[in-house]
Subunit: 384 residues, 2 copies
Amino acid sequence: MDTEQFESVESILDKLTGEDAQHVRRVLYGPAVNPLQLSSEALNHAEIDNFELKGYGFDIRQEQLRAPRLVRVGVFQNATPLETWAPIEQQRHAFYGMAKRALLTAFCSGVNVFCFQEAWNMPFAFCTREKYPWCEYAEAAEDGPTTVFLQQLAKQYNMVIISPILERDSSHCDTIWNTAVVIDNHGDYLGKHRKNHIPRVGDFNESTYYIEGNTGHPVFETEFGRLAINICYGRHHPMNWLMFGLNGAEIVFNPSATVNGLSEPLWGIEARNAAIANGYFTCAINRVGTEVFQNEFTSGDGNRAHKNFGHFYGSSYVAAPNGSRTPGLSRTKNGLLVAEMDLNLCRQVKDNWGFQMTQRLDMYAEKFGEAIKHDYKPEIIKRK
Amino acid sequence: MDTEQFESVESILDKLTGEDAQHVRRVLYGPAVNPLQLSSEALNHAEIDNFELKGYGFDIRQEQLRAPRLVRVGVFQNATPLETWAPIEQQRHAFYGMAKRALLTAFCSGVNVFCFQEAWNMPFAFCTREKYPWCEYAEAAEDGPTTVFLQQLAKQYNMVIISPILERDSSHCDTIWNTAVVIDNHGDYLGKHRKNHIPRVGDFNESTYYIEGNTGHPVFETEFGRLAINICYGRHHPMNWLMFGLNGAEIVFNPSATVNGLSEPLWGIEARNAAIANGYFTCAINRVGTEVFQNEFTSGDGNRAHKNFGHFYGSSYVAAPNGSRTPGLSRTKNGLLVAEMDLNLCRQVKDNWGFQMTQRLDMYAEKFGEAIKHDYKPEIIKRK
């Protein structure tokens, strides 16, 4: 069976009909989302550029005292446009060209906040463990070429742009970080967040290049809501999600790069669980396609050396705090997912479920403080 | 559309065929589980008693130094056998009779550890907010009638039994708790765990009867593995799951009582996310059927007074740390789900994914310690 090339789980579930379809939808995808009417201009752009364009809106009850706070989010998933061994300048040119088209389409779709996938402007080459040319892709967060390129577009389109890149930190001995840059809708650099949790699994020992982030759990207060970024492997860590919630996030983006052999059954679970547990929207974004490298490498799985480590399965989706989620984008194609959400839903869900009120954070702060000690004795009850 | 009476999502997905079925299975249910061959004796018992009996096993790689540690878990979901207003003695008689048959069937299925649903020996009457007769169901954990009843069967069947009940704490002013009692396979009382997180949502303001538990996060070391219990609403709390993991749990049971209008789209997400994040097996157990009460009550949802608050949708399932899960039991029928697992899988998954090694508990202990202060200032970055 070819596990790479089928379109999506949702395209298969669409074959179910009548009450069967409704039951499966309700239980597996939560309260229904409504397809958005997107402009013909946007649809034309997507067709010309051969990427998928889908839009959905989440339902909400109106309040008496707060006006709706409608925000449209756009998340973009893409394959690498050139061969991974093309020169860096050429790669950048190709990535920027693609980004420009995606941002234009997002603008035509009314998007207020746009987020790229992890390390969006380069091949995901960390599997190779080669330092060069990959370290050369690292650039300054605040005024590197990618940030400068996006600032003009953010201003032009009145759009907040989140740009996950490889960062070069020249103020600290030229170290490298995995970083998301936030540019506000005036085109100004707002700040950055560095990936908090770094994988050491399969082809992803990224600590070859960068280590655990030191920027905490910042929430970016923008004209379109309070935003945070949980980069890739951080989605496996419930406390990482929780801390963004404690700092008041309303939308948490999860720009990722992950392959079908490793994580696909987990993909629909983790970001969605985080939305439910923390009372915010989550946007899970994954690459698509297979990236082939020039030199062979091994993957620590006993198999022979090879030049690619599997299929990035796309499937980007948005989840709401009430258990609702959109269908995923394609597993095989570039795509832009537009989701319209009323941020008031976050507080409504918190009021209803009360998870924050009942979370007993004081107890856990104390218990975790105990558990970190090297001589911690787990609380075990056994037969005398 | 009748959202109550369809059998299960899996029975609908079974209508998919060929590669469609395989793709959906792999992505939505993870690495395949294998149906267990159960004894004809067990199947006969289940048929006579008209409950569903299903068994599945999880795959695992063999190790060189550790022998497999195979355990069979049995989880039982049931409707109330009598009308909710039947006298307490009669109710107990009926519950005990049903339990006896379920335990016999579990024994014939090779079960080592058996867990009932939340407050299994009574109607789930907390929606009524009436103190009587419901408080009369509360009994001593260590030597109350239900524990005494189960001790003999635990010994006879060489089975650990987890019995979630309403506890009366006569050592502390006769207070009531929502408690899971653990009886070991020699028939001895091993200990108890009190529900850590208490809901205040819809028909579930259980703090009318009992408050947040004070027994911490004990893990019970038994001949069949290290067990813990996360009772009902605690499944919405990632730190509760995490703490059981830090104390070394290999299987965490989640005895629950929850209805379709409230939580069904969350049901397949939360216990499964916990298994993945914490490197242990989770067993999610829910009631079935609709419980009707003698006196009408309101549900805080603006609707008229009524005598039942919805359909307990069953759907009990077991999830593994590698992202695999069993199909759910029926949404409408009593059922016993048997799952065979090799506990060695827990450490294998931890070694592979490294979530524990990379969790940065020290950072979170410190941050949570800050966040509990009444004057905590969230970490917000905004435009100057």
